[in-house]
Symmetry: C2
Amino acid sequence: MNQPISILGAGLIGSLLGVYLKKRGLDVHIYDKRSDWRSQQVLSEGRSINMAISYRGWKALQKAGLKEKVEAHTIPMYGRRIHDEHGVTYFQPYGKNDEAIYSVSRNILNQVLLDEAEKEGVQLHFEHKVDHVDVSKNSIDFSLKDGQTKTCKSEVVFGADGAFSSLRTAMQKQMRLNFRQEYISHGYKELTIPATEDGAFAMDPNALHIWPRGNFMLIALPNQDKSFTCTLFMPFEDEKISFDKIRDEQDVVTFFQTYFNDAYQLMPSLTADFCQNQTSALVNIECYPWTVNHCTLIGDAAHAIVPFYGQGMNSGFEDCFILDGLIEKYGTFSWDLVFEKFQKMRKPDTDAICKLAMDNFKEMRDKVSDPRFLIRKKIEAKLHELFPYDWVPLYSMVTFTDIKYSDAYAIGKVQEAVLDKVMSDPFIAQKWENLDYHAILDNVETSRAV
Amino acid sequence: MNQPISILGAGLIGSLLGVYLKKRGLDVHIYDKRSDWRSQQVLSEGRSINMAISYRGWKALQKAGLKEKVEAHTIPMYGRRIHDEHGVTYFQPYGKNDEAIYSVSRNILNQVLLDEAEKEGVQLHFEHKVDHVDVSKNSIDFSLKDGQTKTCKSEVVFGADGAFSSLRTAMQKQMRLNFRQEYISHGYKELTIPATEDGAFAMDPNALHIWPRGNFMLIALPNQDKSFTCTLFMPFEDEKISFDKIRDEQDVVTFFQTYFNDAYQLMPSLTADFCQNQTSALVNIECYPWTVNHCTLIGDAAHAIVPFYGQGMNSGFEDCFILDGLIEKYGTFSWDLVFEKFQKMRKPDTDAICKLAMDNFKEMRDKVSDPRFLIRKKIEAKLHELFPYDWVPLYSMVTFTDIKYSDAYAIGKVQEAVLDKVMSDPFIAQKWENLDYHAILDNVETSRAV
Ligand SMILES: Cc1cc2nc3c(=O)[nH]c(=O)nc-3n(C[C@H](O)[C@H](O)[C@H](O)COP(=O)(O)OP(=O)(O)OC[C@H]3O[C@@H](n4cnc5c(N)ncnc54)[C@H](O)[C@@H]3O)c2cc1C
Ligand SMILES: Cc1cc2nc3c(=O)[nH]c(=O)nc-3n(C[C@H](O)[C@H](O)[C@H](O)COP(=O)(O)OP(=O)(O)OC[C@H]3O[C@@H](n4cnc5c(N)ncnc54)[C@H](O)[C@@H]3O)c2cc1C
């Protein structure tokens, strides 16, 4: 009999991968350094952190038979609701036909996935911290909670252990691994808008709320308990407005009153939250190769991206979908082949989403409140409406289709050049509704043919 | 009294830095994981590995009062001697006026520097392996040979511990360190051409010998014992000709007879050397920031480069020179200021030499035997001869001056564009001696003014 399959990390990607592999009839074990967090219904900080699922995520959940189970815990967001400095808001739909992204609590999602994995027969091992992996022998050293250590041999080792992956660290010592880690100047802090006193949402729940303020911004996503989880993105230091300039509770209040006053009115525990919740860093990680012998990286361990496209988890779920497709095709006796195909096929796409996420950071930060940008978005929306198959905006390709990220990136570049030209007209604000939209589309076709 | 200054790594950079800092009146301690290799006169493998010192290295050695001591151990190389497949050789001088780079044994150079450091009063601690550095407290944990551990607090910690720096690893865990490591497809193996039976050099000793063969190459540098140390650079795998294709002694012989027959005739211990000596990887490492609190990286720990410009050590020595200049200016009580200035000033230059080293890899590999490239070099040499101050070839700026690497890089790009234009003439081979060289120079001036 074969040795078991080990998955390092019981996070979102590791647990979905566990479900997939178990369904292929394999003996699957998932290890995580944390203790089983499913029992702790209320998290220590009493906070719920949420994230957005979009098309690629759903597709992968569906193939694993998990779509309905997850859906029950989500809230659709049909567009961005932009809040300006005076509290005036306006709504930018994400797409046509009620296309939406879905807010879900990270913990609940993880719990659904882990429960399913366990139900399918995956063995979960908590409080198993990976210390080292010998990649030539697929052998893993763990340290357990009580200070004991344990070594396991596996048929295959999956590193789904996140941005600071222990498998990747081990690979870095045992092979020529190309590796790049880049922190951005911005960090983030999570805050809360609770339900109103009569138990309702304090704002429109079916939107992703954004307060864009140039070099910093606040966003908010709805939770099923009628609260919103807010995230403040801001430079750590070295800027006029940055985390290090906010030194005490009074600074917090002044800062929020000045820039986010409508949100401020909805945040009774702001100062306490601000001081208690840590400021976290944001990192972009790329590496290659992902695989050596029978070990492979997957999810954030292979490609951690900044969260500005909401695609980190979605791309990790898509990794699982693609890998499972290769196992379907080549079977579970040709791991070398499966892994080699997986990394070759997938790497250009995760590189593309890395770049897109970084670009979208700049867009959300600088442009969403710029009137010219709004006209540009309207022109795009109109193009999409007129030519639903021939002009799909970049955001839609990434979020509402499974076009390869690298193709979306390339098409997006062509569209960008075409729109740059359209926008170069100084009277575009007056003219945009009466443009020759067919001619614009022709430009795309020509550029693509070249 | 202040706490001592700790330098991690007693390699080339750490030991020169020790001399500099001691001369500034500081209490300097150097730690290295290796045992004191100065006592082992003949290295275990019986091999001597050598490297080239050029202008920046000499300048730094001179300021430390070490130029004469080192000079005694070097052999000048006035140019490249190219060997073609038939054993025909031709000579390309490096510059005019007998400009040379100097071959020196790595061990002897390290020994001279360490002896000097010790003589000046630097305390050397061998068999001290750095396990961890707490960068907020400047506190270093060592493990010693006998399994014991030791913790030292310092005023300042210098990480001169090479490409796989333990200080950098510690920084990576404790701060937002941007980091990139890129292995190239090629590895290298060191081989030997011994002195002839009557105790003479087997080839011209005053040249760096190169056997360029497209995707792989052999080079040789002279040693004072009349031997040459050869280095074979070649892809590890996935190519028609690569290390993994050479599987036994017969393969070695066939390969050398085919591509390097003139060298082969001079290598009696080739097959044994080839099988015994390991194949090593080549890595490019960039990171930033270099400094946090009172800790700073220097030399390969801050910027490891591929060896194709012979500038790794030279740039590390220049680091020491520049750092010492800042200490001269700001004193030894403002380390924060010194380190901040150091990294801001130096980083663009080490980035530039990283890129240049990679470019030179491609040049040495692909072009040095290309007749058009030779004409190009001749045109450059002529420009340099005619306008010694206004046209200094890139290689000369890097190797024979202390122009900032980043300036050399920028000027090099301008020269490249000008020469590309000159070379685009299909009859250049016939014409090159009679070109209007003043007009060519004018092109440079115009481009630079733009
Ligand atoms: C602020 C923010 C917002 C985001 N929003 C979105 C969003 O809206 N949509 C989206 O798609 N993505 C989003 N992401 C990205 C998403 O969070 C990640 O892509 C996703 O969590 C990656 O899952 P993973 O399982 O690969 O890694 P992780 O979620 O990091 O899980 C790794 C697991 O491995 C375990 N582990 C780590 N080291 C060891 C070890 N040595 N031994 C044993 N176990 C170990 C950890 O305990 C953890 O359980 C966001 C990210 C951030 C930071
Ligand atoms: C094939 C090749 C040819 C080269 N040729 C040239 C050339 O011609 N000219 C040139 O200028 N450069 C050349 N270089 C580059 C040059 O070798 C390096 O730039 C130089 O050695 C860097 O010196 P360093 O002191 O920073 O690091 P190193 O020489 O790597 O020294 C680091 C020291 O730190 C010690 N150390 C490491 N980790 C620990 C730890 N955890 N605890 C304690 N001690 C530790 C090591 O034992 C070592 O003594 C070449 C490099 C290669 C690979």
